[in-house]
Structures are given as C-alpha cells and as structure tokens.
Symmetry: C2
Subunit: 213 residues, 2 copies
C-alpha cells in the first residue's frame, strides 16, 4: 500500500496529464487549442477578479479550490465540447467513473474533499459554486472571443446557441452579465456571425485595444 | 478612458498570453515544454492538497490567489530559468517594469490587490506566501521528475544545484520536506544523475506507479 506521501505524489504526477486534455477553443494566435489546465487557471483568474464585484459573498478559498478541480475528471473522461449534446450526455456517466478512479486514488480525507468540491460545482447551488460555474461559462466564451471565433466557425455555432450557453452565467449576477454583454458587443462589432446568425469567425486580432501587446 | 468592465476584460484577454510563456521543464511525454499557466494551475493544486498537512495555518483564498498571479509579470518579462543566475538577476528589474505595466492596466483597486499579492509572494514571509513559495519550488522540481529529467540533462544541472534550489521549500515545513525527499528517492532510483552528480536524464516513463495510466 502506498502511504500518504506516495498517494499525494502519484496524484500530483497524474495531474500533469490535465495539461494534455484538449478543449475546443484556441489560444489567441490560433496555433493550437487550449487545454484544461490553462482553462482552469484562466477561469480561476476570472474568479479572483470578479469576487469583489459580484453581488453576493463567497469564501474565495472554496471558490478557487472548486475551480481548480472542477474539470479534473477529464484526465480519464476527456473534454466534452460545449455544443455537442450527445458527447455531453455521455459525459455524465464517464465522469462518475472517472471521479471514482481519480479521487479514490488519494488518501481518503483528501479524496473526499476534492470529490465534494467537484459535486458542489456540478450542482452549482452554493455561492462559491455559482461563481465557479459562471466563471466556467465566462472563460469558455471569452476564449472563443480571444481566438477570433475559430472554433465556433468550425462547428457553425449560432448566436442563439451561445446565448443559451452563456445564460446561466449572465443570470448569476448583474456584473457578470455586464461583462458578458460587453464581450457580445465586441464580437458583434467584429462580425463573428453571418446574416443567418451562424459563426464565420473574425480571424486573428480581435483584441484591438491591446495594440501595443 | 476604458471603464471598469473594459479594463477587466482587456486584462483577461491579455492573460491568455500567459499560456504562451514557455518554462524549461517538459510535460510528461517530453513533446513540449510546460507553460506558465499550466505551472500556476499545477502549483495551485499542490497548495490545495498541502494546506491541511503543513504545520501552520493559511488563509487558502489568499494563498491560492497568490499562486495564481505570482508569475503573471512574465507576460511582459518572460520566464527566467531557475539555473541561469544572470537571467534571474536581470529578471528583477524587468519584472518591476512589467508589474507597473500589467497591474497599472487594471482598475486601481484590483491593480493594487494583485500587485500586493505579487509583492507578498516575492517576500515569502507571511504564512500564505511561504506556502506559495514552497509550492513554486516543489512544482518546479516535480515537473522535472515527471518529465524524466530532460531539462536538467540539457543544462547539465547537478544534484547539488537542485538541493540548493529545493532548500527553501524543504525548510518551510516538515511535510513538504518529506514530499520532496520522496521525489529525490525516486529520482535517485531512476538514475537521473551520473557518478559526478550531473544530470543525464532518465528518459520517459519515470512514473512506474501509474502503469495503468
């Protein structure tokens, strides 16, 4: 039997694989897709920046912890594309199995703690989970904006589909709603959608404010 | 003048570039180097796992916040290799300039908050900063172990150099010391160093415990 230190160490070694779980959206220059470790970091930064502006109190340590581990089951289950209903339906059972395997490999107290954080995130009912969930939708949306809509154009994602996808985040808090609507305003200006409301992408360089970047 | 939402949004867009800041250590399969966003996420996971086992109390929200932003100035300043003394000496002034530019772009209250977190990390005196700093050294060391010592072999890093580099983390807390010594035991067993104590690398597959992975 591995002891506490061996179990934690093996878990931290395994966690490296999270950096190879590919998501759909690209990084800014379109050269590669973002991975789940990057997504989680970026999403945690969103949580950190938003925590003081939202209209409800959160325990930041719990919210950030939740964000850091919310997708960890993807190490075994993979990422299901936001606009692939079949993949998302199948993901539920795959992620349950992955959770048993993943959290079961930790010392029991730590395994329980991480599993609870993951389940709390999935239920998105507590203040911390509501913030985390909103940040998930926000970062996913933001990343497509950052990368010029390339992944939406590939999948012909419509304006309407993204409206449904961002709704839970917009409804979570007026400040987050304002942030997402600002992204929509920029996206509309950049012409991400054609007249039929289907994504065509705006290519690189949708970040005109960062001209010195 | 950009308003609060525009400033935050521009900052979150800019943050994507953190995913393109290359570090020295590789991911497990050696196919590419790790980037700073992945490092920060992995390091935050270390902090989250260690928080209950270390012998001092930390405010987890502050510790994780610090970890998430501790290297953010690299967006402008780049990463300085741990074993390149010249690059590290030059990094101090470059990072100060980067901090002014980076944190100065945020709404003042948020800019101050992030800058304070960064300075607190750099001083590594408070309990949160001590944990964060130890996790930085731990993750850096762990990542080289995970990737079979490839980046050490490239730079002919000696056992002695790594001992100096990990000392601050080992001295922070006995539990962290135990974790790092366990990694050393595995590394010695895998033969990362030659008889002169110079890194030769152990190739891929240093994670025998994860044979089903």
């Amino acid at each position: 039997m591995p002891d506490r230190i061996d179990s934690m160490l093996d878990f931290l070694v395994l966690a490296d694989r999270f950096k190879s779980v590919e998501r759909r959206a690209y990084v800014a220059d379109g050269s590669r897709r973002e991975n789940s470790a990057e997504h989680s970091w970026h999403m945690a930064l969103c949580g950190l920046l938003l925590a003081e502006d939202i209209g409800f109190d959160v325990d930041l340590g719990r919210a950030l912890s939740m964000i850091l581990v919310h997708d960890l089951v993807e190490i075994y289950a993979g990422d299901a594309f936001a606009y692939d209903a079949k993949a998302r339906a199948e993901a539920v059972e795959k992620e349950e199995q992955a959770a048993r395997r993943l959290f079961g490999s930790l010392p029991p107290d730590l395994g329980r703690r991480l599993e609870q954080l993951w389940r709390e995130f999935e239920a998105h009912e507590t203040p911390e989970a509501r913030l985390a969930y909103a940040c998930d939708r926000l970062q996913g949306f933001l990343q497509v904006y950052i990368s010029g809509g390339k992944s939406w154009a590939e999948a012909m994602v419509t304006r309407e589909m993204t409206r449904k996808r961002t709704a839970p985040a917009r409804e979570t808090d007026p400040f987050i709603d304002g942030l997402i609507e600002r992204i929509y305003a920029r996206i509309e200006k950049a012409g991400f959608w054609n007249d039929a409301g289907i994504a065509v992408g705006a290519g690189r360089g949708v970040t005109p404010r960062l001209s010195d970047a």
